[in-house]
């Protein structure tokens, strides 16, 4: 009886246990890992991925999947980069556009994210294209568009650089010792948490993902829900790209490639269900952090970065397999 309880406790909190074990293992190999600076680095690295995961979480809860977010973040990075170049930079992208305040590149990428999300939503909800395939198509379109954009003279397909200091400050600066990026990520998490748990819209998102047909009967406009979640995810993805560009001080078309997979994996190991209707913010956050710890930690202890992929893959498979046991035990 008691062993049953313990094993149940272990299964239910497997994520925390994984994370703690990993941190412990890395700390043993290299004790300096346990420092405020490392913590801050891990969080800063995670910040854009948290945005992607939060957008993805909302989509997955509504019963969908947004495969566009990686390429969309890439587009957001390039687009915001082109508007954030210094006036004196010799490869200035839009030579004829006057000096713009630093909010403009951020707003531009946000709006483009909304528009792309809107298109994705219509393709999935109105044209009934399966979410996976709609995303696959949109990915290609976004990547192609991004390459074409980068080809514009005088840039001619080089990675973007020469950003204004105000823009890179958004990526590297801090207030009271806390990075702006971390602040953005925390705000986004708070917004998503409030959206999902404290608004009727959130309740309708859960209901739509939990049983689409039943939600329709209950009078919920599931098309509106679809549009909201894809636009929300699109805007966050594009904004994440903007953050990436600001942090690294550069941008190119292959930025954030494959990040949609990381976002999906973070949500799923954080307890979200692909069937829809289940998922929560702390779980998805933890999913992102686990991947970042693997990323950062393995490099920290000097292990080949190739091992990251193997460890990541194992964690996804094991976490989901355990999760399935949790459900099968119930039914």
């Amino acid at each position: 009886m008691n062993t049953k309880k313990i094993s149940k406790l272990l299964v239910n909190n497997i994520l925390y246990i994984c994370l703690l074990l990993m941190i412990a293992a890395i700390a043993v190999a290299s004790p300096s890992f346990l420092s405020l600076r490392v913590l801050s680095d891990v969080l800063i690295q995670s910040a854009p991925k948290i945005l992607l995961a939060m957008g993805m979480l909302v989509v997955i809860i509504a019963g969908g999947m947004d495969m566009t977010v990686g390429r969309l973040a890439g587009l957001g990075a390039v687009l915001s980069g082109t508007f954030a170049q210094q006036a004196t930079y010799y490869l200035k992208f839009w030579p004829s556009i006057p000096e713009l305040p630093i909010i403009v590149p951020i707003l531009v990428s946000f709006v483009v994210g909304l528009v792309v999300g809107c298109v994705t939503g219509i393709i999935i909800s109105k044209l009934s294209v399966p979410a996976f395939l709609a995303g696959l198509g949109m990915q290609q379109i976004l990547y192609g568009g991004n390459l074409l954009l980068l080809r514009k003279e005088p840039n001619s397909s080089q990675p973007l650089a020469g950003f204004k200091p105000e823009f890179t400050a958004f990526g590297t600066g801090s207030v009271f010792g806390i990075s702006y990026l971390i602040i953005v990520a925390v705000v986004v998490m708070a917004v998503v948490f409030i959206l999902l748990n404290m608004t009727t819209l959130g309740k309708n998102i859960y209901a739509t993902g939990g049983n689409r047909e039943a939600a329709k009967v209950a009078g919920i406009n599931v098309f509106k829900i679809d549009m909201f979640v894809y636009m929300f995810s699109g805007a966050l993805a594009s904004l994440a790209g903007c953050m990436l560009a600001a942090r690294t001080g550069s941008a190119n078309a292959s930025f954030a490639e494959g990040y949609e997979m990381d976002a999906i994996a973070s949500c799923i190991i954080g307890g979200a269900s692909f069937a829809g209707g289940i998922g929560n913010v702390p779980g998805a956050f933890l999913g992102v952090i686990i991947f970042s710890v693997i990323n950062y930690g393995l490099t920290f202890v000097g292990l080949s970065s190739y091992w990251q992929y193997i460890v990541k893959g194992l964690i996804i498979v094991v976490a989901v397999a355990l999760d399935m046991r949790k459900y099968s035990a119930k039914n």
Partner: protein, 518 residues
């Protein structure tokens, strides 16, 4: 005629499912070269019996003899090898493949060369063509099945059964998706098969058809055999009276409501854009009335009510509430007009499985009236108010649950149904539409749902109930509209409500008799 008396003999077949005795010592004997009709109400056990013979279910007791030899049939493959073929009511054609490939599904003719089985396309097409020719069907073997209409899928399915060289063909409601001309084709094929000494077991609710083509009729009721008679000795009346004839039990609460004379809901000439669905249906419901809708599977009752609720489109017709015409294009319009629809299939269109009981209870009201559950002046949900309301309906309907946070999918069917009912009661509807409200739930929960219907009617609301359970329909309704093949075939009231009359209306629709208006 063959020298064998019976090609199929099933004797004393008993089959029990958890809690239900679906078949109780049922026997069926089929002569070669005849059409043997199998009749009974929904749930009489016809399909279960056929599934036992076809090897989908294994009977608990009883024996099956084919051509005089006792056999054990464990799966459909064995049934086919014994010369038994079944055409299911719900078809599963492989749409992207050709007619010929569908005919030879799972046994495509091949040529062997270099150790590999190559598809023999010529033989595939020629042999399919031969089958079609033999049955007089004008189908191109190379045409993709997806491009053909549903009725052709039915005919291809029949051709497939014939191509097996089946000696016994079971047809479960074969005409439900066929037009009249296609039905003629089917009957011609059946006659031809009879001449080829094939026995056909024909399940149908349509009495006219049965009398037209069958040689013998077996009638079942409540999982038991009523008897087998030569078709020529039977009439519509004798069939109906033998199909029913059940005693009414005291399973309903006392009737305490009294319908007023004031009309609350009226539908005029509703037509579906789908010609096989409901057509030209008119009816009205008064305040404080329980209005039953009867009919057989496929009579389009659910489709009609779903269309009224805005889940399906309506091509023509009008809906009035309190004498005022309303336009309902989506369920939200219906909810705003104080309508509620408890759907037929809980799992598919009712439960939001992973969500809690509280969320399931609130899902309608918080969407249509979000202000009710918000904190004053803030856009945030007030959980205290939500839980209070959810608890109120959990108590009112005595839902047995550990807590409000419990996922609805972990509850029993009866408790799930009560939560869903609570969801709609919370929105305080004037018109409550219940589609098979007591399906798959225990007797106790049924009684509580009946009591609730009484209460709603007492309060002057309309209760519209679709039910396939005859006692429930008769025991609860003030008036009963019977539907047949998408039409209103008659409305019964007071002492007209008799099981025989309902069955008769459900299986025969004649426009001139019911004097369809408009």
């Amino acid at each position: 005629m063959s020298d064998l008396k019976y090609v199929l003999e099933a004797a004393d077949i008993t089959k029990t499912f958890p809690g239900v005795k679906a078949l109780d010592k049922v026997s069926l004997r089929v002569r070669p070269g005849t059409v043997h009709a199998l009749m009974g109400e929904n749930g009489a056990g016809k399909s279960t019996l056929m599934k036992c013979i076809y090897g989908i279910y294994s009977p608990d007791e009883g024996s099956i003899r084919v051509n005089g030899d006792e056999v054990q049939i464990h799966n459909p493959r064995m049934a086919m090898d014994l010369g038994i073929s079944m055409i299911h009511q719900e078809l599963h054609p492989v749409r992207p493949q050709t007619a010929a490939e569908n005919i030879f599904l799972g046994r495509i003719p091949y040529k062997k060369a270099a150790g590999i089985r190559w598809v023999d396309k010529d033989r595939l097409v020629n042999e399919s063509q031969k089958v079609f020719d033999r049955l007089g069907l004008d189908i191109d073997p190379k045409q993709k099945v997806g491009e053909l209409s549903t009725s052709y899928c039915q005919l291809i399915e029949i051709a497939r059964a014939v191509s097996f060289g089946a000696k016994i063909i079971i047809m479960d409601e074969p005409t439900s998706s066929l037009t009249e001309t296609e039905t003629e084709i089917l009957f011609r094929i059946i006659k031809q098969l009879k001449e080829e000494n094939v026995a056909i077991i024909y399940i149908s609710h349509k009495i006219d058809e049965i009398l037209q083509i069958s040689d013998e009729i077996t009638i079942m009721r409540d999982g038991q055999l009523v008897g087998t008679w030569p078709a020529k000795d039977m009439t519509t009346d004798t069939i109906v009276s033998r199909m029913v004839g059940r005693e009414m039990n005291d399973r309903f609460p006392p009737r305490t409501h009294k319908p007023s004379n004031e009309e609350l809901f009226r539908a005029e000439g509703l037509c579906s854009p789908n010609p096989h669905s409901f057509q030209n249906v008119s009816f009205s419901v008064r305040k404080g009335e329980i209005f039953g809708i009867g009919g057989l599977v496929g009579s389009q009752r659910s489709e009609l009510m779903e269309a009224i609720f805005g889940l399906r489109s309506i091509e023509a017709g009008k809906i009035f509430i309190n004498g005022k015409e309303v336009h309902i294009r989506r369920p939200l319009d219906a909810v705003r007009n104080k309508m509620a629809l408890l759907t037929e299939d809980r799992r598919k269109t009712g439960n939001i499985g992973p969500a809690s009981i509280a969320d399931n209870t609130l899902v309608v009201e918080q969407n249509v009236n979000p202000g009710r559950y918000r904190k004053k002046g803030l856009p945030f949900i007030d959980y205290a108010k939500r839980n209070q309301d959810a608890q109120k309906y959990v108590d009112k309907l005595s839902v047995k649950t550990p807590s409000l946070k419990t996922q609805i999918q972990t509850l029993s069917g009866g408790n799930q149904q009560k939560v869903l009912l609570g969801r709609w009661l919370l929105s305080e509807p004037d018109i409550l539409i219940l589609d098979e409200p007591t399906r798959g739930i225990d007797v106790g929960a049924k009684y509580e749902i009946y009591e609730l219907m009484e209460e709603m009617a007492r309060e002057g609301k309309c209760v519209v109930m679709i039910s396939s359970e005859m006692p429930e329909l008769m025991g609860m309704s003030d008036r009963i509209m019977v539907m047949c093949e998408g039409h209103n075939s008659g409305i019964l009231e007071g002492n007209e409500i008799q099981e025989e009359r309902i069955m008769l209306l459900a299986s025969t629709y004649k426009a001139e008799e019911t004097g369809e208006q408009k």
